[in-house]
């Protein structure tokens, strides 16, 4: 199997170990859904204005040329956070993350090099006894992560601790994805479809062979008329290219693209946001053509459908394949 990473740990195994290690720990009920499912969608929606790079205000632009297959591979990651036990009121959470690049050869998907799979145990050091933390450290070593190490004012509400752990797991997943993406950029030159943004890693964000595709729109990079233009995009239409900047992330060029006919659906139906490396000033006039080209690549991936995934309107089949692969090995 093409995987490497932490030794396999699962909830039952950790619970058994904790029963010996810390008899006072109370195991959580198993079989519950993951914390990602329980706590999803809690981010507040935001609107952020962005600088348009393509000239004029942000507006809809038709992608005239037919879709064409341009991506050689797809990258995606998964995460799974599960409640293991409580030490008093402090949750101990097992986070398992994985990432994979699936390469397309002769229309079939194959794993590129190795998938990455890692597991970590999350606990709030400040809220448990030093003896308990010591016992956990001895047993789990580098796999043990303190979720309070950079959040001194972390509330001791168990739900807040859980959310903090899930946030750490998410960060771990992004780290794995970036590691794989950077490896691709080092070794390959063909286009890589990355599920999610690319701005988290500078190496990836400036590479010409990576394209990030964001499916969630809790943050929309448009306001006013521009927002209306984005939400009313038709099939095979994209928005003008704009720049996304962030203090802790690398600047990238981005645009919205409607993959499917939105008639009869909500405004977000089939809407994705693509991210590519921000062009150098001398290449800025070609950003529109580049956006059209990448849009055609993305549109080509709308078939076959990613059904039965609920996000099939925005998800491409290659990403679904990554998720299925990771589900199989994880």
């Amino acid at each position: 199997m093409n995987q490497m990473g932490s030794p396999a740990l699962n909830v039952r195994a950790v619970q058994r170990q904790l029963a010996t290690l810390l008899p006072e720990a109370r195991p959580a009920a198993t079989g519950e859904s993951t914390l990602e499912i329980a706590g999803q969608g809690n981010d507040a929606p935001r609107l952020i204005s962005a600088t348009v790079l393509e000239g004029g205000p942000l507006r809809a632009r038709r992608v005239f040329d037919p879709p064409t297959a341009g991506f050689r591979a797809f990258l995606d990651g998964t995460q799974r956070s599960e409640l293991v036990s409580y030490l008093g009121g402090v949750p101990i959470i097992l986070g398992r993350v994985a990432a994979v690049v699936r390469e397309r050869r002769l229309r079939r998907m194959h794993t590129w090099h190795q998938a990455l799979v890692e597991t970590r145990l999350y606990c709030a050091r400040q809220l448990v006894t030093p003896q308990a933390w010591e016992a956990l450290s001895v047993t789990y070593g580098p796999l043990l992560v303190d979720i309070t190490d950079d959040a001194a004012d972390l509330a001791s509400h168990p739900f807040a601790l859980r959310d903090a752990a899930v946030h750490r797991v998410q960060g771990h997943r992004e780290e794995l994805e970036q590691r794989l993406a950077e490896r691709w950029c080092n070794m390959e030159h063909d286009p890589l479809f990355i599920d999610g943004g690319i701005s988290g890693s500078e190496k990836v964000a400036v590479s010409s062979c990576t394209v990030g595709v964001v499916k969630s729109h809790r943050t929309l990079y448009a306001e006013g008329e521009a927002l209306g233009a984005v939400l009313s995009l038709g099939r095979y239409e994209r928005s003008s290219v704009f720049r996304i900047t962030s203090p802790r992330r690398t600047t990238v060029a981005s645009w919205y693209l409607r993959l499917r006919d939105p008639r009869g659906h909500d405004p977000m139906w089939g809407l994705i946001r693509a991210e590519i490396a921000c062009p150098q000033p001398q290449d800025m006039d070609r950003i529109g053509a580049r956006a059209d080209e990448v849009s055609r690549w993305i549109l080509a991936e709308t078939s076959p459908l990613a059904l039965p995934d609920a996000r099939w309107d925005k998800m491409v089949y290659g990403v679904r394949d990554c998720e299925e692969y990771l589900r199989a090995i994880n």
């Binding site: 879709p67 397309r104 039965p308 089949y317």
Partner: protein, 649 residues
């Protein structure tokens, strides 16, 4: 070592068991229904890594689609839109295999997780337990065909002990007409038996009943086979030649002159022998021809009386006008007339406790036999029969009954098989084992219908024949319609292309849907084999028999046209003495009746004398007393005229 073909998988919903397991393969793997595979287990049991052999019985394929509708939507409802898809959906090939053998056999456990390999020739031998009877020095394997899958060509052997006996015996072959190649399969298997039957097990011959067309009429003539067939022959170690020794038997047509067979071409008559029986032979099997409605207890008693007291004996009775010596149907009719006349004279209703009505009924039925079986049953009591007691090793005896009425077929079948059995019991047949091939078993041993002598006899062979060396090879279109005890006692079963309706009957419930589908679409030359050593059915290919096909034989050796009596008799006699001429025969028989000529011919055929000319002529009286021609005496010379005769010139 071959490359890994697949991996064993098991889920809670689809677990592996000791008799079945599942594995997946790459999409381009050469696995198919009927493929034999080997599983190498990962974890040792009792210090031994287990190996499991199986045969694929079912296959599954699916994609990650949850509903077909999703694919329709993905193509916008247009089936030709596939080329737009840059990626093929993830797809799986999952197979179910039935276990053939565990190594080691104990402990018998569910099939372990492990890697799956295509079975090579050695694996096939182990999987089918053929290694037990292919050992040097104790080899009893009879090739039935070649198993072929994924580049593996492995001969499949049947165990002679279980095909010919005594452990088990008999073979049954089923399949639709024309496509299942049942007759070809039996011809091929007989060739294989004749080649590979172990010398230590003794001699073997075959008796084949040709019940339809020219199927078995040219077994001694070479047929056309292609390179692929030759390769199969070579793989199985069987020479691609026609049968070296074949003897044909056929009754005469109703005219009593020409043989009732499609093998009547003069060029092929040298090994064709007429089959004629007299009263003695027929009366022994009267119940074959007389059903229970005809023959009640009273009639049965009279027939027994005739067999015991009249047949082949000098019979006299005060009531009868003369002493009778009954050896033929003609004699018997004379005897009956005498008895009935005597009763009329006495104005009596019974004779020797037999009622006149019973006598008339039995006379009617028995006399009728010679009419119903005309050509086979000789009025004159002449008998020309199979060489019981002198059967030759590796010889096929074909009895052509294709052109006969059903009654006559039944009679021939019953008598021949009974005689074979009698001689095998006495161990004086000439060979130790006889394979009897019967086609259309639906007709002779049906699962329902009235109890007939032939069916009883077939049941008897099926159940007890193996102890005697009497082996039944039977073929039929619908196995489900054959008596269960006949097919149930067949140690080996072959299946060619099958009819869908037949496969839907309960007898095929043990086969998976995929196996049934394969059976319904089998090519010519393919068979599914069940054999006591094989725990699961196996598919094999067999070559076309290296004998002339029936329709080729008919066109190459057309049947002899109807000819005058003298010509027909001459043809028969010339098989014994080619120097005979039509002129000689016509001179010899010029004053004889047709019956006398036929009787003389039958005698020659029966006795096969050294001097055919003299033996045949001895049956006819001379037309006139022989007399040597002499030259007439010359007339006296005229007296010379006197020299002084005044009227002289």
């Amino acid at each position: 070592m071959s490359s890994i073909l697949g991996r064993v998988v098991a889920t809670e919903r689809r677990p592996n068991t000791p008799h079945e397991f599942h594995f997946w393969t790459a999409l381009d793997s050469p696995v198919g229904i009927g493929t034999i595979v080997r599983v190498d287990g990962r974890d040792p049991v009792n210090g031994v890594l287990p190996q499991v052999y199986g045969v694929v019985t079912e296959g599954f394929s699916w994609t990650d689609l949850a509903s077909p509708l999703h694919d329709v939507m993905g193509h916008d409802g247009s089936p030709d839109g596939e080329s737009l898809q840059p990626t093929d959906r993830a797809e799986i090939r999952l197979y179910t295999a039935a276990v053939l053998r565990h190594v080691p056999e104990e402990p018998l456990q569910p099939v372990p997780m492990g890697t799956v390999f295509l079975a090579d020739e050695a694996d096939v031998a182990i999987a089918l337990r053929m290694d037990g009877y292919l050992r040097e020095g104790a080899r009893t394997g009879i090739p039935i065909g070649v198993y072929r899958a994924g580049g593996t060509d492995a001969p499949i052997y049947l165990d002679a002990d279980f095909l010919i006996g005594p452990e088990a015996a008999h073979l049954n072959i089923s399949g639709v007409s024309g496509l299942a190649t049942k007759t070809s399969a039996v011809e091929w298997l007989l060739q294989s038996i004749f080649t590979h039957f172990p010398a230590q097990k003794g001699s073997v011959a075959a008796v084949c009943f040709n019940v339809k067309g020219p199927d078995l009429c040219y077994l001694d003539q070479p047929g056309e086979i292609d390179a692929a067939d030759r390769a199969l022959y070579e793989k199985c170690g069987v020479p691609a030649d026609p049968f070296a020794s074949v003897q044909y038997y056929a009754p005469y047509k109703s005219d009593g002159v020409s043989l009732n067979t499609l093998r009547s071409n003069e060029a092929l008559l040298d090994n064709v022998t007429p089959l004629t029986w007299g009263l003695r032979e027929v009366l022994q099997y009267a119940e074959v021809l007389l059903n229970k409605d005809d023959v009640d207890a009273k009639a049965d008693a009279l027939i027994d009386f005739i067999k015991e007291n009249v047949l082949d004996k000098k019979f006299s009775d005060p009531m009868l006008e003369r002493v009778h010596s009954v050896t033929s149907f003609a004699d018997l009719d004379v005897w009956f007339r005498d008895v009935l006349r005597g009763l009329e004279k006495k104005d009596d209703q019974s004779w020797r406790t037999h009622h006149v009505a019973t006598i008339r009924k039995v006379r009617n039925r028995l006399s009728n036999i010679s009419l119903r079986c005309k050509g086979l049953v000789a009025d004159d009591g002449a008998t020309s029969d199979l060489p019981f007691g002198n059967f030759d090793d590796r010889t096929v005896y074909v009895i052509d009954v294709a052109g006969l009425e059903e009654d006559a077929q039944d009679l021939i079948f019953a008598r021949v098989v009974t005689k074979l059995r009698e001689h095998l019991e006495k161990r004086d047949l000439g060979v130790q084992h006889v394979v009897v091939f019967v086609d259309e078993l639906n007709k002779y041993a049906p699962g329902d219908g009235p109890e007939t002598y032939v069916r009883k006899m077939l049941l008897d062979i099926a159940e007890r024949g193996r102890y005697l060396g009497l082996v039944l090879f039977a073929a039929q279109q619908f196995r489900s319609q054959v008596h269960r005890r006949v097919v149930g006692n067949s140690g080996t079963a072959l299946y060619g292309r099958m009819d869908g309706d037949e496969l839907a009957t309960p007898g095929y419930a043990v086969l998976s849907p995929a196996i049934k589908t394969k059976l319904a679409t089998l090519e010519k030359g393919q068979l599914m084999v069940r054999h006591p050593h094989f725990t699961q059915p196996i598919f094999v290919r067999f070559p076309r028999p290296a004998v002339m096909r029936g329709r080729d034989g008919v066109s190459q050796y057309p049947s002899a046209a109807s000819v005058p009596l003298e010509t027909a008799v001459l043809r028969t006699l010339r098989t014994f003495d080619p120097t005979l001429t039509l002129g000689w025969l016509q001179d010899t028989v010029q004053l004889a009746s047709d019956d006398e000529i036929l009787r003389a011919r039958n005698a020659v055929v029966r006795e096969r004398p050294q001097d055919v000319r003299r033996a045949f002529a001895s049956h006819f009286r001379a037309a006139v007393a022989p007399k040597t021609a002499t030259r007439a005496a010359a007339p006296s010379p005229l007296p010379a005229a006197p020299s002084d005769d005044p009227y002289g010139f």
